[in-house]
Symmetry: C2
Subunit: 260 residues, 2 copies
Amino acid sequence: MKCPQEFVFAANYLADMARSRSLEFFRGEIGAEVKADTSLVTIADRSVETMMRDAIREWFPDHGIVGEEFPVHNPDAEYQWVLDPIDGTYRFAAGHPQFGTLIALARHRKPILGVIDIPAMDERWSGAHGWPTVHIRQGRRSEVRTRSCTAVKDATVFFCSGIMWRNDPMAVWNGMHGVNRLLDGDSYSYGLLSSGFADVIVDSGMKPWDFMPIVPIIEGAGGRVTDWQGMPLTLDSGIEVVALGDPALLDDVLRRVSAA
Amino acid sequence: MKCPQEFVFAANYLADMARSRSLEFFRGEIGAEVKADTSLVTIADRSVETMMRDAIREWFPDHGIVGEEFPVHNPDAEYQWVLDPIDGTYRFAAGHPQFGTLIALARHRKPILGVIDIPAMDERWSGAHGWPTVHIRQGRRSEVRTRSCTAVKDATVFFCSGIMWRNDPMAVWNGMHGVNRLLDGDSYSYGLLSSGFADVIVDSGMKPWDFMPIVPIIEGAGGRVTDWQGMPLTLDSGIEVVALGDPALLDDVLRRVSAA
């Protein structure tokens, strides 16, 4: 089923609103004066998420909402919005522009729409079932495609720092021996992959609001996203994710991460 | 000795030239079409460094030049320019805007001037002996200061991914237990620390063109930079660096990293 146009419009409108709100906090007087403590982060996080929740409830009163900061709303709804108001909260609090607002829409718990918005870099990726994945940077808009890459040895790979929380992060890292490995996976990296600048992302420690948006974005650009067992992601998936620009890499990547 | 004004002007002019050249390559037709292979990186690196070397030799024929891509020029000169045309080459090749051009000037092998320029984010930090450290983002210029932080437990810490190349990276990581740790140290992080957004950077695997520029920038903003033994950095220093926004943290940080 093609994602209804109205929802694509709404998701982008929501991202515009969230961007404006988060930039009110970013490197603002509070950010510059106060240490990067949890309360500061929480103020920005909660403010952006509350604003998005209020808008969704007004626009689509029958829909559900799953967000990082507040309890689930309408958990049995056919459509559920999945929200991460500020992904990369530590970076945000440290004045680093690589933070994002993540928005997804699930139907029957499967992702059908996603937005990765990077407010402080004025950059966005947006994708939905039946729509081309679109990238906008500083006002310049283009449809994007992942690139071809048929051998892992030729791949540019992003690792998320969530790998560090595993018992043996080096095992996963070493499983990609001989590859251009970058220890820098986060929502921005998924955008780069959908634009054809990277080939593989290996990620762990993820929550639904982290991984649901990336599925329609990357698959709408020609790539593939699964868990570490190769299963499609839903609202009920676990924390481990692989993303591929070229679906042909899937088996080799799964073999390497499962051996770790 | 105050850094001569002429050199501050020259360094910023050089950074302007380098920025223009590197942006010709960034996400350009070549970058979008070709995989992130070494030859692409080398073309951009060499082009930017050659341009900077040519300019320095024209402006200051008696000065020396130490750069990442070519042999040392005039190694016994009183003044030596230290150049990294593209710091973060893998990110650059993956279309990631967090790459930088690093420029330092050493007198008698000690750093007296530094520039961290981030072309694709339109952002720059510039510092020199006797001058205030200046930050420019999208045309907005301001003098910056590091912030106060008197206990490591309250610190926001960046770790460079160079830590991953140690035999036991987790030991260093765990040495900062109980702290807001971000696995994301690179030239950009040093800029954020000089602007008072972060408190500590623990870094390894560094070369002179990586660490020489950061000393005048951070110390001009009120902070402190040393090696892991607490010694000042020179052109002859090793690969391990700590940077502190508040010099009061030095002893505790050195104790933690040396225990690792």
